[in-house]
């Protein structure tokens, strides 16, 4: 019997047995337990909220640094470069929080899955830009932190250019390492996710799923 309609009858008979076989722990369905529990979406919203708060504090500190070193162009310009990076990261984080807040799981499957996948694409692009941009702002970061925490002024021409060049060389290297070793990082899920983001694997998977969703939604004729 391999007909879906006939299987439907077998499934219905099985369904009746299920009623007796499944037990639902109703004690866990009370308001106190459920209110304490956090869904994956909520956890992600909180993580992003915390991230946004950290970026905000960094922006404020950098603003203060720029004001204090307005007379020293090399220091204020380095801090301004970092500030631009931090503002872009804050804006991207807020964009994700807003997009997450708009997700209503009780809407039809294709609509919500598309929304979730677009959010994943956004998250992957942000990770890519953050990592690649991070290699560029590496030099200003050292300059600002050395001054702010150690009181040192480490800026000089060759040093700065060497670090900028180092940061730029790091980009293809990081992409190559991610492509070569990302798949083997199963024991470190977070690391693996970041490497797959950087290598473009997760973006490809997300794009494929979006295409699949569109295909599923599209009218088909046999």
């Amino acid at each position: 019997m391999f007909d879906l309609d006939e299987m439907k009858e077998v499934w219905a008979a099985h369904d009746e047995k299920l009623e007796q076989c499944i037990g639902l722990n109703r004690e866990l369905l009370n308001s106190a337990t459920l209110s304490k529990a956090h869904s994956a979406t909520q956890r992600l919203t909180w993580t992003l909220g915390l991230e946004a708060a950290v970026w905000f504090v960094i922006i404020v500190c950098l603003g203060s640094f720029i004001t204090h070193h307005a007379g020293t162009l090399r220091l204020s310009l380095s801090a301004a470069a970092l500030d631009v990076y931090a503002i872009a990261m804050l804006a991207a984080t807020i964009r994700q929080v807003v997009a997450l807040g708009k997700i209503d799981y009780s809407r039809p499957v294709t609509a919500i899955q598309k929304q979730l996948e677009m959010l994943r694409v956004l998250r992957i692009r942000i990770t890519q830009r953050a990592l690649l941009g991070g290699t560029v702002v590496w030099a200003p970061f050292l300059i600002v932190t050395a001054r702010a925490f150690l009181g040192l002024d480490i800026v000089n021409g060759p040093w700065l250019w060497a670090n900028v060049a180092f940061g730029l060389c790091l980009i293809p290297l990081a992409v190559w390492i991610s492509k070569a070793f990302g798949e083997r990082m199963g024991r470190f899920p977070f690391m693996q996710r970041v490497m797959n983001d950087l290598a473009g694997r997760n973006l490809n998977a997300a794009s494929e799923f979006i295409a699949k969703l569109s295909g599923f939604e599209a009218e088909v004729h046999s």
Partner: protein, 168 residues
């Protein structure tokens, strides 16, 4: 703010539709621990959305939408999941000796469902549960004719794959 009456209503509605919860979890996760995690994740999402539940919509339709949306996201997660939701000790969903009450046909059907992509899984699950094409279209967000065409193709595919697997 959810009142005590709403809480009781929630418990009774979810309890009355526990089979939907079980079948979604069973179709999207093969591993028992993952099934329990998914069941808890769905219940938490149902609870969070319950305040906005529109009673003009059938509870089963609403539960299918949330359950399938959570299950597909769960299935597609790239990273390992954090294991904590409702409770460390008590299990939300218990099924006594699952394979003992499954006929060979049901087991074959489960194996077939396991080969499907997450969207087709949802389609077959809704069909087997006796939903009309209109209800399926409503849950999935596609047209009724689209559902009919997909089901017809699925029937063909199932015939080919299951008869092929028994011959092989």
């Amino acid at each position: 703010m959810i009142t005590l009456q709403q809480q009781q209503e929630f418990q009774s509605l979810v309890g009355g539709h526990k089979k939907i919860l079980y079948k979604i979890c069973n179709s999207y996760c093969r591993n028992r621990d993952d099934r329990e995690d998914l069941a808890q994740e769905i219940v938490v999402q149902l609870w969070r959305s319950f305040g906005t539940f529109d009673e003009r919509v059938r509870f089963s339709t609403w539960m299918y939408r949330i359950g399938l949306n959570v299950a597909i996201s769960f299935y597609r997660k790239e990273t390992a999941r954090t294991r904590y939701i409702l409770s460390d000790d008590g299990q939300l969903l218990n099924a006594v000796d699952e394979t003992a009450y499954q006929s060979s046909e049901i087991q074959a059907l489960h194996q077939f469902i396991a080969t499907l992509d997450p969207l087709d899984k949802a389609l077959v699950l809704l069909y087997l549960d006796g939903n009309s094409y209109l209800e399926m279209a409503d849950v999935l967000g596609v047209s009724e004719t689209n559902v009919a065409t997909k089901i017809s193709r699925m029937k063909q595919r199932m015939r080919q794959e299951l008869s092929g697997s028994t011959r092989g």
